[in-house]
């Protein structure tokens, strides 16, 4: 997790000790953000930063993904911050994050402007209904897959079902629901772990 030491012995390998420029980092993440369709930003990051550019190695990338797992935020965003930190410290993390977000931000505002002009046309409304249905399907798919990921026990499934009941079905505000369910879920996971 620590940044590459800048003062490596001159006799050692000459691999990538030249720090990567902030402009280069910004452009790399700008390009990534603007072209990563479909939500799986972490996968795009892996292909571009690890495989194509070789800025960080495989093991570092995997540990970066693992660290973020229990913390809030999109995986791609968390990985971007930690990769940027790995490359150039705090300023690298900031530049990478803003690079990642600024492309999609500009694009979505253009889309929004087009929507303001055309959004009330009946045909556009019909197409958007279809797109929304598919996008909802994508959300359901991800939720169901992660609910059943890694052979969950009865307790984990009950917690997931309780969350759906409170937030999805009953429409309760999310913050108190999480504040009540998260401690219960974590304690039960701890008890389950002790027992096994």
């Amino acid at each position: 997790m620590t940044p590459e030491p800048m003062h490596d012995s001159l006799g050692g390998d000459v691999v990538a000790e030249e720090p990567i420029g902030l402009g280069t980092i910004f452009l790399a993440f700008l390009r990534l953000g603007s072209t990563s369709f479909g939500g799986n930003t972490a996968g795009w990051l892996y292909r571009d930063i690890v495989l194509r550019r070789g800025w960080i190695d495989n093991a570092t990338f995997l540990s970066i993904l693992a660290v973020g797992q229990a913390l809030p935020g999109a995986n791609g965003v968390k990985a971007t911050v930690l990769i940027g930190h790995n490359l150039r410290g705090g300023i690298g993390a900031t530049v990478a994050l803003f690079g990642l977000l600024s492309g999609p931000f500009a694009i979505i505002l253009l889309v929004g402007a087009a929507y303001r002009e055309l959004g009330e046309h009946p045909l556009v409304e019909a197409v958007l209904d279809g797109m929304a249905a598919a996008a909802i399907g994508l959300t359901f798919d991800t939720g169901l897959r992660s609910a059943f990921h890694g052979r969950p026990g009865v307790i984990a499934l009950a917690i997931a079902a309780a969350t759906v009941l409170c937030v999805g079905v009953l429409g309760w505000p999310m913050i108190p629901v999480i504040a009540a369910l998260a401690p219960v879920s974590i304690v039960l996971a701890l008890v389950e772990r002790r027992r096994s």
Partner: protein
């Protein structure tokens, strides 16, 4: 309901900053609350607009969705878009930045593992809740429910299907049906 420009910016920040810290598994996890706050509590937009914004943001590139930018833009123009986007993405990024090294050091401890395993089912439940919340906000009626469930079944059966292809295909299908039966 119509506050001043500054009041709207503050209200946007108050909606998105707390949710940033709860976006386990990504910003889609907090969609149910975003829908509730923007449509029901603040009356910033209709349910149809919210569902449309959601569809557009999922079809556009970017991490998770840029839905926050669209909502902020609708409420308070470019400043609103900036406040909402920064509010949703930056606080959790700070948290990850600050906690990553400490969190890594605690790897392997019993409670570390319990936190990871305890949070996972809640994150999964929030995603399913997000889908339900958008279905309820959308005025599209039965056809959207049927199509959303069919799309879910298709994705569970064919996981490698590109998301954009499904969104485009489903949009085209609804477009053709809409043109034939206006």
């Amino acid at each position: 309901m119509r506050g001043s420009f500054e009041a709207n910016l503050v209200a946007l920040a108050l909606v998105f900053v707390p949710l940033s810290f709860l976006s386990f598994g990504g910003s889609n996890a907090v969609l149910a609350d975003i829908a509730h706050q923007t449509v029901t509590v603040h009356h910033w937009m209709s349910g149809r607009e919210f569902a449309d914004f959601f569809a557009l943001s999922r079809a556009a590139p970017g991490p998770g969705s840029m839905l926050a930018a669209l909502i902020g833009w609708k409420v308070a123009g470019l400043s609103g878009a900036l406040v909402a986007t920064i509010g949703l993405y930056v606080p959790s990024a700070f948290l990850v930045y600050g906690l990553a090294r400490v969190w890594q050091r605690w790897r392997g401890r019993a409670w570390h593992d319990a936190v990871e395993r305890g949070v996972a089912p809640i994150a999964a439940g929030l995603l399913v809740s997000a889908g339900i919340a958008i279905l309820r906000a959308s005025p599209g009626g039965l056809s959207i429910w049927v199509a959303a469930i069919a799309a879910t079944a298709i994705l569970l059966r064919w996981p490698k299907l590109p998301p954009l292809a499904l969104i485009a295909g489903c949009g085209a299908l609804f477009g053709v049906i809409g043109a034939l039966h206006p």
